[in-house]
């Protein structure tokens, strides 16, 4: 591909953000309009990724490769495959919705806000496209700055604490990753080319060290239990758009990191660490769900539910079979859609009530019926009701988890029960029950807000009723990844056998009884 599509996707929003700078800050309306225009155009530019993507190859597509710092062999190397392409698309959509939801919610330093948001978008897309470790690391860190600002400047009362915590957690993790990258550079033949590094094999000991170095960066980002405590604070204090980007895209990068780096580069370590990773995921699922029951703050509850949902994602990734991994990637997108939509909704509600305390709500369905209907759909998607996207991902992960370790499937399935518990309880306390006088007279959604939420509604139903639209992008890439990790040829990573086959190898498949 000669047309530098990915570069344009990365730099267009950044340049667009810079374009906002000369606009006088009095003209907030113009700033919003231009920001919307830029993010909208960005989304259109990204469309060829959807339509021109070749689903039959695991090779990188839309590749751009230029030498950058020859002395260190650093390259400007971009490309997408079936694992990353959907996240690029999701990022462009989410940014548009973030602009819309911040329309009136952001009243101070409007220009700076939208500049941050657009720069953030560029960096996020860059992270998903980068195939050079050096470039990746720069973009990974670059992404932190606008996010840090968004939380720290436009956040809630406790924003500085939350922003610093977010920054520190992520930074500690990424420093260890840097260590891993440099080690890899010296041991892997003085190159930062991710694909080249992944195609080599390293001694198990080194893989282990690398695995844990990467783990530090990615587990914090996901976030996996027990390094999740930055997330509730960051989510709670961030403005709506910040929470949405955080939930929909930023925390996906952790899981993406596992898929792109940890597993292909340290496959043996990943296999050796399979059970510990599954156990951490399961703890995350159950822990996140139970702790949700105790929350009194709307955003905090959804933030903890992310811990639980991302537990499913990491379970799917580390269960290492076709269904679980495709389910895991799909669930990353689903979680982005659903939790993104929940945070958008909460942002819309918060703009009216200026309270996040659940007890301040009640009976809102009588006053905001459209909001109630949409929120119900998001809730149902979050609890994995069939027909919504949440079900497809969860089912595939449970299935794959069960195939990998039957106890993992059983424990993960309990999350489904508790998940229904906290989400429906939340829904009841906000939208049902006697009307709280604080919500009397609130206007229902206006057209802008409707436009913010309807794309999410469409995506939830689309993926829920026709998940193959998304899954078809992943098949080949996931098969290739599994081949890299497990060393088995394509097609056998699928551990599901017929009854007859299972009976033959019963001991092998079902030997792992008992919980660790």
């Amino acid at each position: 591909m000669d047309f530098p599509l990915l570069s344009i996707l990365i730099f267009f929003p950044v340049l667009g953000g810079l374009l906002l700078l000369p606009i006088s800050k009095e003209k907030a309306g113009v700033i919003r309009g231009v920001a919307l225009l830029i993010s909208g155009i960005e989304m259109l530019i990204a469309l060829p990724l959807w339509f021109n993507f070749d689903k039959t190859t695991h090779l990188m597509q839309f590749v751009e490769r230029k030498s950058w710092i020859p002395a260190w062999n650093v390259e400007y190397y971009l490309g997408v495959d079936g694992i990353s392409v959907l996240f690029v698309l999701l990022s462009t959509l989410v940014t548009v919705l973030c602009v819309l939801v911040s329309w009136t919610a952001i009243e101070t330093k409007v220009k700076e806000f939208f500049v941050s948001l657009l720069v953030l978008e560029g960096a996020m897309i860059g992270v998903f496209c980068a195939l050079d470790f050096f470039l990746f690391y720069i973009l990974w860190e670059a992404m932190l700055i606008p996010m840090f600002l968004i939380i720290g400047v436009w956040g809630g009362p406790n924003r500085v604490y939350a922003a610093v915590k977010f920054f520190l957690y992520t930074l500690v993790g990424s420093l260890l990753m840097l260590v891993g990258i440099i080690t890899l550079y010296f041991k892997g033949g003085h190159t930062f080319d991710i694909l080249a590094l992944a195609s080599q094999s390293y001694p198990l000991k080194m893989q282990m060290v690398l695995f844990w170095a990467f783990f530090a960066a990615f587990a914090v980002k996901v976030p996996m239990w027990p390094v999740h405590t930055w997330l509730p604070d960051a989510h709670t204090e961030a403005p709506a758009a910040g929470s949405v980007v955080l939930a929909a895209i930023l925390i996906k990068m952790g899981a993406y990191g596992f898929l792109r780096f940890s597993m292909p580069i340290c496959p043996d370590a990943a296999k050796a660490m399979m059970v510990p990773m599954i156990v951490l995921s399961l703890i995350g699922i159950v822990y996140g769900a139970v702790i949700c029951l105790a929350q009194t703050d709307l955003k905090r509850l959804i933030a903890y539910s992310s811990v639980s949902h991302m537990g499913y994602v990491t379970l799917g990734i580390f269960a290492m079979n076709t269904q679980s991994m495709e389910g895991g990637i799909l669930q990353m997108i689903n979680h982005g859609i659903v939790t993104g939509a929940l945070f958008l909704s909460i942002g819309i509600i918060y703009e009216r009530t200026h309270t996040r305390v659940i007890a301040d709500y009640g009976g809102m369905a009588s006053h905001m019926p459209i909001m109630a209907a949409l929120f119900l759909l998001f809730t149902m998607a979050a609890v994995g009701l069939p027909g919504t996207n949440g079900f497809i991902g969860e089912f595939m992960i449970l299935l794959g988890g069960f195939v990998a370790r039957s106890w993992a499937g059983v424990v993960a399935a309990t999350g489904v029960i508790i998940g229904a518990g906290y989400m429906l309880w939340l829904y009841q306390r906000v939208f049902f029950n006697p009307v709280n006088e604080k919500v009397v007279g609130l206007p229902d959604l206006n057209n802008r807000e409707l436009a913010t939420l309807l794309p999410m509604v469409a995506l939830i139903l689309w993926v829920g009723l026709y998940p193959n639209a998304m899954l078809s992008y992943m098949h080949v890439s996931v098969a290739h990844l599994l081949e890299q990790v497990t060393g088995n040829p394509v097609g056998t990573g699928d551990a599901v056998g017929s009854l007859a086959a299972l009976v033959g190898q019963a001991g092998e498949v079902i030997s792992a009884g008992g919980l660790h």
């Binding site: 440099i182 010296f186 080194m206 405590t229 949700c292 029951l293 105790a294 027909g387 599901v496």
Partner: protein, 739 residues
């Protein structure tokens, strides 16, 4: 822009308000129905044209596994060795078609269209018109269901995929439809009762603020239930399963500003999730074992599980038993059997038509349907069947005893539902799935009638539900009185009425069963038959006989319900009387058409009961039923003081029953409260608050403190941390590179 929008809005509104749209809708529906009929009549010329060409025919990318081989496709085959009693009905080889006739698609999708239409435009249509589309849609579905029944009675079956939902590795899940005898029966039950309930609701929900919302949810429910029964694979079953759960949640919590209603809806959903937990694992296990989730290949290979074992969580299970019991978990939840029965009585918070449709006639029977549908799996494990039987028997007695003393008119009927569902499970548990489904069929009519009758009473009593304040309503509500009488007689098992035939079939089969559980269930079932008659007539006499005990205000408002409510009552009364006639047993000179009709799907237990024994059993159950009615007559009409004295004498037992054995309280104290407490007290405060936060924040903090002490540098904290983390990182780096 805005003008444009307003103009368009106005045009739509005007169009909707004018009656034109209704005419168009009706015409459109008639055309659709006609198309369906044409397709059904098998006219190939039209059929091909109308089925929608390649879309339906061509997009099933992977045919039915084993497709084309008639032997494998006919469900009945693997029952051959089980069934064939008496040779009264010659077994026909059934044709399984792999194309989707249009009418079959209309059955579920018309209610879906109606849901979407009504939820979007219902408000604009207002109370006068909002119900037309849902009623027309469900009536058309009913017509199509009749066509489907005819198709099946002609010996045809349909098993076809619409499109592939998920494909991932070897996982291939489709949206697809299966039409066989069992489906046809369920279609008739669901669409007929749903139609009547729709019509009834026009009168019952009159004046409610959420009128259109109610009708759209009813349509959503009908769609979900129809998807549940028509699916040809476990995922579609699960889709319908959860979607009916959603509709039930929405309709129980219909009056959502009432905390009790909102609580009840949530409770129903969550309790069901406990059952779904097992169900989902069962489905996953089935996929793991068979590599597919379509019924056809799973059921035809089910026998391969015999003698295998499976280890789960360190315990080794007999494979068919494990699969069957996991699936049964789902059935226990949905059909409100012990220990997951707690949600159903609370579900009575919903409007009464909902209780009739969802929580009596259709949704709660999904569990029975599941067991009957999966009979090739259940049939492989005597232990699993015994569990089904015993759970049924225990629930049967448990719920009936509670129903004896409740005073809320709807709760009595709700517990009666739980008890009757348990009968169906007894039937399935002794291998007489046909009998279980037969009871499902007759129960749907008489129980829907009981509920709608209760609704009529509640409507007349200005929303009073406690029988303590009723009495003597006979003269005010004559139609309700007579139809309720028929329903009560039917549920009590009075000969000739529907309930008699189906209940006796179950009791006879359980008596004939060779398993101990079956005999146990028979004894319990006979005892409960007496209780059923007693509590039904207790309710009946308390409501309609004696003196009116309500307020003067209520008395003034007493009135018979409007025509649109009484006509459905009369139609249901016909069902409550006649629906049993399709299965009159041979002992009574009938043709036992029912069991023969279903035999190809669910088989027939190979039992032999002499006609004399059958007669004796019938006499016994009729006898205890009549005794129950007589006892109720004595206690509540002749000597109204007796019940109070009995309650006083056995006050402990009475309170125990009145409070439903305190099961709710037990669950709250042992499951709900501890979970929330762990969340609040342990996870938030200790684990998250002290341990994780403490450790993670403690490290940089202590570095900061030490460095501050050492160097007395008081610049920004972030700086400090960064410097130290960076140096730490470099130390690690050097260490790693040196290795």
């Amino acid at each position: 822009m805005m003008d444009m929008k307003r103009v368009i809005q106005k045009a739509i509104t005007d169009y909707c308000r004018s009656e034109k749209w209704a005419v168009f809708a009706v015409i459109a529906l008639l055309v659709l129905a006609w198309c369906g009929t044409v397709c059904a009549s098998g006219d190939p010329g039209h059929g091909e044209l109308l089925v929608g060409g390649g879309e339906v025919h061509g997009t099933a990318p992977h045919g039915i596994p084993g497709g084309g081989e008639q032997d494998e496709l006919a469900h009945g085959e693997h029952h051959g060795d089980v069934g064939h009693e008496g040779g009264l009905w010659t077994y026909q080889k059934l044709n399984t078609r792999q194309e989707l006739p249009f009418y079959l698609l209309l059955i579920p999708f018309l209610p879906l269209a109606s849901f979407i239409f009504t939820i979007l435009f219902g408000k604009r249509l207002g109370e006068k018109h909002a119900h037309w589309v849902p009623i027309a849609a469900v009536l058309t579905s009913f017509v199509c269901a009749l066509i489907a029944l005819k198709e099946v009675m002609n010996g045809n079956r349909i098993n076809c995929d619409l499109y592939t939902l998920i494909s991932s590795g070897s996982l291939n899940v489709s949206v697809g439809f299966l039409l066989d005898e069992l489906t046809a029966v369920m279609l008739i039950v669901v669409t007929s009762i749903s139609s009547l309930v729709h019509i009834y609701s026009v009168g019952y929900m009159h004046g409610d603020g959420g009128y259109y919302r109610f009708f759209s949810f009813l349509s959503l429910f009908t769609f979900s239930m129809l998807m549940l029964v028509t699916g040809n694979n476990f995922i579609q079953l699960f889709f319908g399963w959860e979607a009916v759960g959603l509709s039930s949640y929405l309709l129980i919590g219909f009056w959502f500003n009432k905390t009790s209603a909102a609580d009840a809806g949530k409770k129903a959903f969550i309790v069901n999730r406990f059952g779904d937990f097992g169900f989902a694992l069962g489905v996953i296990l089935i996929f793991l074992l068979f590599g597919t989730l379509h019924y056809e290949p799973v059921f035809s290979q089910a026998t391969k599980m015999v003698g295998q074992s499976y280890t789960l969580l360190g315990m080794t299970f007999d494979m068919p038993t494990l699969v069957a019991l996991l699936l049964f978990c789902g059935a226990v939840g949905k059909s409100a059997q012990i220990p997951l029965h707690v949600w159903l009585p609370d579900a009575m918070e919903g409007p009464t038509p909902v209780s009739a449709l969802i929580h009596a006639a259709t949704m709660v029977t999904a569990g029975v349907f599941l067991v009957a549908r999966c009979n090739p799996i259940f049939g492989l494990s005597q232990f699993a069947l015994d569990v089904v039987t015993v759970v049924g028997a225990v629930t049967c007695l448990f719920a009936a005893t509670i129903a004896l003393v409740q005073t809320d008119i709807k709760r009595v009927v709700a517990y009666s539902t739980v008890s009757q569902l348990a009968y169906m499970f007894i039937g399935c548990g002794v291998g007489a799935y046909g009998a279980g489904i037969f009871h499902l069929f007759t129960h749907a009519y008489f129980k829907a009638l009981l509920f709608l009758g209760c609704g009529s009473v509640i409507h007349a009593m200005s929303d009073e539900q406690d029988v303590k304040y009723m009495g003597g309503l006979k003269k005010y509500l004559p139609v309700t009185y007579w139809t309720m009488l028929l329903a009560s007689l039917s549920i009590s098992g009075v000969p000739g009425l529907a309930g008699f035939f189906s209940k006796d079939e179950i009791l006879a089969m359980s008596y004939a069963s060779t398993s101990g559980a079956g005999k146990f269930a028979w004894a319990i079932g006979t005892l409960v038959a007496c209780m059923t008659a007693f509590y039904s007539f207790r309710l009946f006499f308390l409501t309609f006989h004696g003196k009116f005990r309500g307020t003067e205000e209520q008395r003034k408002h007493l009135h018979e319900s409007p025509r649109n409510m009484t006509i459905p009552l009369c139609l249901l009364a016909f069902g409550a009387v006649a629906s049993g006639w399709v299965g009159i047993p041979a002992a009574l000179g009938g043709g036992a058409h029912w069991s023969h009709f279903l035999q190809p799907v669910v088989g027939h237990p190979a039992v032999h009961l002499s006609h004399a024994t059958e007669w004796k059993l019938m006499c016994l159950s009729v006898g205890v039923g009549l005794f129950g009615i007589a006892a109720a007559y004595v206690m509540y009409v002749l000597k109204p003081g007796v019940p109070v004295r009995i309650a006083a004498t056995f006050s402990l037992a009475y309170r125990w029953l009145y409070n439903k054995y305190y099961v709710d309280e037990l669950y709250f104290a042992t499951i709900v409260q501890p979970t929330i407490n762990i969340g609040r007290k342990v996870l938030v405060k200790v684990t998250d608050g002290i341990m994780i936060e403490g450790i993670v924040n403690g490290i940089p903090k202590s570095i900061g403190v030490i460095s501050g002490q050492l160097r007395r540098m008081q610049t920004g904290r972030v700086h400090h941390y960064l410097a130290y983390m960076a140096s730490g990182a470099f130390i690690i780096l050097f260490w790693m590179l040196k290795r």
